[in-house]
Amino acid sequence: MVIAGIGQTEYGRHPGRDTLSLNVEACRKALSDAGIAKCAVDGLLVKVPTSRYEAMYGQKLAEAMRLQPRVGGVWDQGGAAPISMISFACMAIEAGQCEVAIVALADNPKTGTRQAYEKGWGDDAVHGWFGVAAGYGMILQRHMQAYGTRPEQLGAIAIACRNNGARNPHAQLRKPLTMDDYMASPMIVEPLRRDDICLVSDGASAVVVMREDRARQLGVATPVPILGYGQAHTSWDVALRPDLTSTAARQSAKTAFAMAGLAPADIDVAQIYDCYTVAVLMTLEDYGFCAKGQSGRFVEAGGIELGGTLPINTSGGLLSETGLPGLQMVIEGVRQMRGSSCNQVADARRCLVSNQGGMMTTHATMILGR
């Protein structure tokens, strides 16, 4: 199975455009990048826009593109949905249910509403328990206390992503960050600072998935092989997880590495979902790139920077390229495997991509090759 084409809108503000319009632009560009006609597409999987849920959204998008897919629908896993949808597209193609699938997402919280990320958590709102950030804060507080993780270590993640994004002409935020800037950044939900928290973006991303032989047949120029994928999910309520500092990322990566027949040491570059800096710490540990509790030291020693043992988020991640929920990280993985990234890692042969949603509630992993 391969990713045959990638497409994206500009990321940032798109006043007056709805998510169907943004999705169609990304899909048009992904088809053009693959060099295939719309009539080849018989699968369409879409992530429902977080800021505005609506029923039958997948079929609304199919209608906007005059498609009648054999396999279609929306996927509800928050930021784990992009890789999950690509996985399901692969399985549907292998099962003979469709041949060429588009996986897409769009959202417009920047010019629309970001209310979905700031609402109260049911009856617990009586305690002032609001917003997604606080769940990550709970995980981080426990990690800091249990393992001595320090703010400067989180800063190292924000700085690495922001510096990469500064060199990406299509990044929404292209201003590099210093440690002084990071430490002076205001607390939002302590221990999380503003600069630990991802951007809010309008925009869309899309990829085209098909079999390798079909890509050859259709004359696709630069198909990128999918070597493995996995997913895993845990409780909706962060408070109910027996161990706050061990996440579904562990099982998700285990499945993906087993499918690919690879181990963490085989990975040359990674796109790690950085909706909050702490998500990167948790993912590095749960994926086995470092031992539990050691990720702070790993990032502080430069492990995730360009030239480090595991460069991450080479297009800037959610902290710098766009806060959209994750398909842009698969797209950057494809660019790394094609050798066309704005921060190309020399001789990179395997790129790992992580996606996750909620408060590390849902997780999906993908390994790309060349």
């Binding site: 049911g122 617990d124 206390q145 205001p186 939002i188």
Partner: protein
């Protein structure tokens, strides 16, 4: 000022809030497998049976984690920042979202004692750190 985000009292949650108004923190215990839990549910999340009873918590707990809001995400809390929200594990097992009374939380796993108090005219469970 915005309205207090009062809980939605349903037939399932009403006994929980009613007990708090009488000064008792309660949780559900399965009569089949003895699993104990919060928040209120219709079925035991362990064995899936609907055979459970309310039980009063001793009030002893431990601090799993906490955060401090420096920004209010809801107008009612605007004048209260910075305020803490904590995850508490009761000695009987159930976990709940709560808060730690002044001087506030200091370290994970510290022992806590229940101290029910009124917020916006209704009793909610809160905890105080206790010396060990």
């Amino acid at each position: 000022m915005a309205d207090f985000p009062a809980p939605e009292r349903t037939p399932l949650t009403e006994p929980y809030w009613a007990a708090l108004q009488e000064g008792r923190l309660t949780f559900q215990r399965c009569q089949q497998c003895r699993h104990a839990w919060l928040p209120p549910r219709g079925e035991c999340p362990e064995c899936l049976e609907a055979d459970w009873a309310w039980e009063q918590a001793s009030g002893a707990g431990r601090l799993v984690s906490w955060v401090i809001y420096h920004r209010a995400f809801h107008d009612w809390f605007r004048d209260l920042v910075p305020y803490n929200v904590a995850i508490v594990e009761l000695e009987e097992g159930p976990r709940l979202i709560s808060s730690v009374l002044p001087p506030g939380p200091a370290r994970i796993d510290q022992k806590l004692a229940l101290e029910i108090g009124a917020v916006a005219g209704m009793n909610v469970p809160r905890f105080r750190c206790i010396a060990e």
